[in-house]
Every structure is written in C-alpha cells, then in structure tokens.
C-alpha cells in the first residue's frame, strides 16, 4: 500500500473555505482522494464542493470518525494552531501546505507531534501522493502513475518535474513525498527512507535535495550504514547558487560551512548513491539502478 497514504486514507481539509483550500479540495476530489470533511472556524454548517464544513476539528471528527489524515491550507499566522488542533484531536498524519510559518513555531509543533506519535509532512510542501490511490497535496495528479519508485524531495516544483519525466519514461511511482523546503520539516529524508525501506512495493528511491542543512548528508550516512538497502538516485539543486545568499523562501542557505553542494554530492556518492548532474539524467539513472538490482 506504499507509505503514509493509500486507498484507506480519509482526509480532513483545514482552511477548506479559503482560495487554495477550496481549489485543491476540488482537485483532490477529482483525483479520487477521499475527502470527508473540512474545517474553517466560524463557517461551520456550509459546504465546499459537497464536502461538509465544521467549526472545529473535534466536531468534524465527531461526525466523521474515519478521518485519519489532515491537510492544512490555513494562513501562516494561524497554521500552527491548526496543526495543534489536528494533533490534539488524535489525527496521526498532518500535511502542512502553508508557506511562511515562523521557524520557532514549526520547531515547537514538530516536537509536539513527535511526543504525541503524529507525523507532520511540511510545512511549505506540496504534500504527498500514492498514484492511483490518494493525493493529499497540491501536485498536478496527471503527471504521476502507479509504480515502484519512491520519490522524496525538498522541492515542490522539482518533484513535479522529475516525477513527470519518470512517468513519461514509463517509470511509475509508489509514493511521492514533498517533505517541504523550510529549515525545519516534520518528516526528514532519513525518516522517509525508514518508511520506504519497509515498504514492499518500493524497489528504488529518488532523492531530490537542495543545498543547505545536512539532511542529505544524514541520508547518505544512513545508506552507508546499510539501513536503507534499495537503490537510490539523487539530484541536488543549487550547484551554482552563491554561498551565504538565501535563495528565496527556501531553506537553501549555506551557513557554518555545512550543506554545500560538493559536500552533499560527495557524501551521497560515498554511500553508493547515483547522483544526477541535471534533473534530466534522473530517469536514465533510475533505469540503470533498477536493472543492476535485478541482475
């Protein structure tokens, strides 16, 4: 059933009446995602694309006890509260699309989620999709197809770019996770790798990283220790970005000497990962990796 989301996933949309919330609720419904309820405080009793809206998560759960996943489109100043509301109501998978959440807030709710056994994806992420089963995110659904290659990525649009190339080359995906571009995210590369290691449907993994931070290095170390045993193809964005300049809203800033392009690529190569020079090499390398695995 791939990882985290599948045909059993029943979704609550927090911030469902907003522009993005409403638009993507429609998109997700069209994809086939089981969206059973929405929340916008003060708008309880209304409907969005046929989905009932409640004032609070507690009320939504009382009427729809099957909810097991929430996706959050609430604006940044209020998003942390929405996350806490979801966790406190007992939801175990919370996907935070919202961009621009203060990092101290994220740090706290991610730690809080861990203490309550909940998984956060994001913030500032496109969400995740198990093609053909459930899309809990904002990615265009048609660019994916069911298959055996996992994709895990810090970058939203690059995920689409690379997944679409895989699809066009006939390589389907098990689950694609955009973990988010902020300095602190709920699910890290190593945590995602743990999930995919256990997933029987996944035969190879594409890791899309960026400069900054040490998440790629940690993933490399984990692979080197033999804790992830499937073939990995990686692409790291930001080879030509100047150091100490912040590239947009991204976590991509090289500080304290860690997180350079060269450092990441070296660590990954040392762990036996195939590193693509441009995004367009990824499908070729994936094919190569899958063939090597078979032989």
């Amino acid at each position: 059933m791939a990882v985290l989301v599948g045909s059993e996933t029943k979704v609550l949309v927090q911030g469902i009446t907003g522009r993005e919330g409403s638009f993507h609720t429609k998109q997700m419904l069209e994809y086939g995602t089981k969206i059973v309820a929405g929340v916008t405080p003060g708008k309880g009793g209304s409907e969005v694309h046929g989905v009932p809206v409640y004032d609070s998560v507690k009320e939504a759960l009382a009427e729809n006890p099957g909810i097991n996943t929430s996706i959050i489109f609430v604006p940044a100043p209020f998003a942390p509260d929405a996350v806490y509301e979801a966790i406190d109501a007992g939801i175990k998978l919370v996907v935070v699309i919202t961009e621009g959440i203060p990092v101290h807030d994220t740090m706290r709710f991610v730690n809080y989620a861990k203490s309550k056994g909940a998984t956060i994806i994001g913030p500032n992420c496109p969400g995740l999709i198990t093609p053909g089963q459930s899309k809990v995110g904002i990615m265009p659904g048609h660019i994916f197809k069911p298959g055996k290659v996992a994709v895990v990525s810090r970058s939203g649009t690059l995920t689409y770019e690379i997944s679409y190339m895989l699809t066009r080359e006939g390589i389907g995906q098990s689950t694609v996770i955009g973990i988010g571009g902020d300095p602190i995210v709920g699910l890290s590369f190593t945590e995602a790798l743990k999930l995919f290691e256990k997933d029987e449907e996944t035969e190879a993994l594409v890791l899309i990283g960026e400069i900054g931070g040490d998440m790629e290095e940690r993933a490399a170390a984990m692979i080197k220790r033999g804790e992830f045993t499937k073939p990995v193809v990686a692409y790291i964005a930001g080879r030509t970005a100047p150091p100490e300049k912040r590239m947009g809203h991204a976590g991509a800033i090289i500080m304290m000497g860690a997180g350079t392009y060269e450092g990441k690529v070296k660590a990954l190569k040392d762990a036996g990962v195939l590193v693509a020079e441009t995004p367009f090499e990824v499908p070729t390398l994936v094919k190569k990796a899958l063939e090597e695995r078979k032989s």
């Binding site: 993005e20 993507h24 998109q27 940044a76 100043p77 699309i97 961009e99 621009g100 959440i101 203060p102 990092v103 101290h104 807030d105 740090m107 706290r108 730690n111 809080y112 496109p126 995110g137 904002i138 990615m139 265009p140 990525s153 970058s155 939203g156 649009t157 690059l158 995920t159 689409y160 770019e161 679409y164 571009g181 300095p183 602190i184 890290s188 899309i208 960026e210 400069i211 931070g213 040490d214 692409y235 964005a237 930001g238 080879r239 030509t240 970005a241 100047p242 100490e244 912040r246 590239m247 947009g248 809203h249 991204a250 991509a252 304290m256 000497g257 020079e277 441009t278 995004p279 367009f280």
Partner: protein, 378 residues
C-alpha cells in the same frame, strides 16, 4: 532579517547585559562632538556597521587612542566598502581590556529540530575556522524548546569551555539572556564573537542577531525602530526587488531567471550553467503566484539591466498556468525593453496558459532542456 551590531547590542542592553559604552554615528554627524558629549574616554574602537560577515578582516574595525584619531578613522571607514558595501552607520565604543576571547552562539539545528548552543574557548575566529582549527573545543548543548535553557545547563556549558567561579556564573547568566533573546525575537541566530572575559565579567565585544523573516509580522518594532536605511547587505537592485516583495538575488551572468519554487529555480540556474549560460539572478515566484505577482516579477527582470534576456520556467502545482500566462502577457505588453523572452510551462492549467500565451504570440516550451538551450543560444 539581519540586525546590525549596534541593534543587537541595544537589545542585549535592554535585557540587562553590560555591553560596552558606545555612541552611534550616522552620516553627517560630528564625530568628535558626539564622543565628547557622551563622555567616552579613549581608547575607543570604531566599527563599520555592515551586515556582511568578515568585517574585522576586511578592515572595518579599528582601535584608536585619541578622539582625533577616531575622527580620521571614521572618515576613512565611511568611504571604505566592506565586500563591496558601504556602512550604514559607525559604532564607536570604549575599548574593553581583556585577555580571553570566547565564542558563543545559538542556532536552530535542523536535523535535531531544537535550538543548539555552540560555545568555544577560542573566540575571535569564525565558527568555520574554529571547526577547522580547534574542532574539539566546540561544546554543543541541545535545548528542549518547551522547557528552555536551564541555569544549570548554562553553567555546564561554561564549565566545559573552562570557566570557573564568578566568571562562570557571569557567563551562565549571559548565556541565559542570549537564549531569552533567541526565543523572544524568534531568531535564527544569536551570536557573540568575540565574547571577552574582562575581570570577573563576560562582555560581548560583538553581537549578531538574525531574525526569522517569517516571524517579522510579530516583530514590527524591529523594522519601525531601525535608524539606518537597509543597506550593507543587498545590492541596489536587490533592495529594489525587496521593496516590491520579490525575493530577488543578483548574480553575475546575463540571463534573467524566474522559476516557481526555490528548488526548480536553482535547478534552472544549474541547467543554464550546464548548457553554457550564466544566470543574472535568482527570482522565485513561490507557490500559488497570481498573475499580478508574475507580472511584477517579469516586468522587474525586463527592467533589470544585467538581464539581457529572460527565461521563465514554471511547473504548476499550486501555481496555475493560466495565471502565469496572464502575468507574462501583461508584463510584455507594457514593457518597452524588447528583450528576448523564453517561456517554459508545464503542470496545472498548462493548456489554458499555453493558449493565453500563444494568443499573445509567445511560444511556450514543454521541455525545459529545449527551452534552456534556446535561451542560452540567443
């Protein structure tokens, strides 16, 4: 948002830290008069207020023994660019006699998802230098964000970098203030380097604070109280871009670049390099950009003189192709720059967007490699 040294020290002073006595000199101020008025006795240190690192090595900090010397050094520093940037102000402070310089900072550790305190008995160098030259000297302490930094933990850090007795207690108190500032300001970084031991006290000779831009809506006072215009970090066009809300970074090439999402934008830059081009900038319109923002970004690059041609690479997710197309068409219609423009469009509402562009006579590539090759060749 990076704070100037003088701003960071003002905040520390508000929290009860004994920072060196000082005056702030703004353009046009009479340095000698200000020093005398404040009763500052030489020796003094004159410090260029810029927001780039490595100021000391670049000659932006000078010790002076007389007021006259201070005046002439100030004149010199006003004219001296640090890494290409002129100071926004000068800070003149009393020199603090000391033998030992420590290093201490608090940052957020991304992997541990907790604040981490980094301390070393070898201050005065960058943390990168310390990490290279005295790696074993760096003490790390992770802090539980729900609990905060405990007094005994602060003392433990001090003890591990070799402090004892009253200096240890003074250091521990200072570290607790640093942590308070870190949380109160929602900072990405609070650093004091060098942090001097002067007698039984610790005195921050330098102080750096970077506030998380995402949290600025809760810290408007930092912007409102700013006495110095924002410079010393950004180029002229970067300041212009930020004024319009565009996260624009200037680079050295001639191909203007717009992408949606930092990753794709960086990958676009990488691809341009790969095929022999040189990006003139980084400009990420983010997720869900509406046509107004796209128009603003495209118009900006059409005006930006370094960009001889403009490349727009959009793969729509939350961003919709029709909104992007509308923005491009409007920007081009209103522009007189006549620069070559290459567009690549995929994803959400791709077809609608493509139609809008074609109706305005703009071809939209599907394949980014083709598009990049095209723009490099122009």
């Amino acid at each position: 948002m990076k704070l100037y040294e003088f701003e960071a020290k003002e905040i520390l002073r508000m929290y009860g830290v004994g920072v060196p006595e000082s005056i702030l000199v703004l353009p046009g101020d009479d340095v000698a008069a200000k020093i005398k008025e404040a009763g500052l006795e030489p020796p003094l240190v004159v410090k260029s207020q810029v927001l780039v690192a490595g100021r000391g090595k670049a000659g932006g900090i000078k010790l002076v023994k007389t007021v006259e010397e201070a005046v002439s050094v100030a004149e010199e520093l006003w004219k001296k660019p640090i890494k290409g940037i002129l100071p926004g102000a000068l800070l003149i402070e009393k020199a603090v006699p000391h033998d030992v310089e420590l290093y201490t900072s608090i940052i957020i550790d991304r992997s541990e998802r907790r604040p981490v305190i980094l301390a070393s008995a070898f201050g005065g160098m960058d943390i990168e230098e310390i990490a290279r030259e005295k790696p074993d000297s760096i003490v790390r302490l992770y802090v539980d964000p729900f609990v905060g930094l405990r007094g005994y933990e602060a003392r433990e850090v001090g003890k591990k970098i070799g402090l004892k007795g009253k200096v240890l207690n003074s250091y521990a108190s200072f570290l607790q203030v640093m942590y308070k500032v870190f949380t109160a300001l929602e900072a990405e970084l609070v650093e004091s380097n060098p942090l001097a031991i002067s007698g039984e006290r610790v005195v921050p000779l330098d102080a750096r604070i970077i506030v998380d831009d995402n949290s600025l809506f809760r810290h408007r006072e930092l912007l409102e109280k700013r006495k110095v215009e924002q410079r010393g970090e950004f180029t002229e066009w970067e300041v212009k871009g930020r004024g319009q809300g565009l996260p624009f970074v200037e680079l050295d090439g001639d191909i203007g670049i717009i992408g949606n999402g930092a990753g794709l934008t960086m990958a676009t830059m990488d691809l341009v390099y790969h095929f022999g081009g040189r990006p003139a900038n980084f400009l990420d319109i983010g997720g869900g950009a509406r046509s107004e923002l796209v128009k603003k970004a495209v118009s900006f690059l059409l005006e930006f003189p370094k960009a001889r041609k403009v490349f727009i690479n959009v793969f729509g997710g939350i961003t919709r192709g029709d909104e992007v197309a509308k923005g491009i068409v409007e920007a081009v219609r209103e522009s007189k720059a006549g620069k070559p423009l290459v567009v690549r469009l995929s994803g959400t509402r791709e077809e609608e967007g493509r139609k809008i562009l074609e109706d305005a006579g703009i071809y939209a590539y599907k394949d980014p490699v083709e598009a990049v090759k095209k723009v490099v060749s122009l």
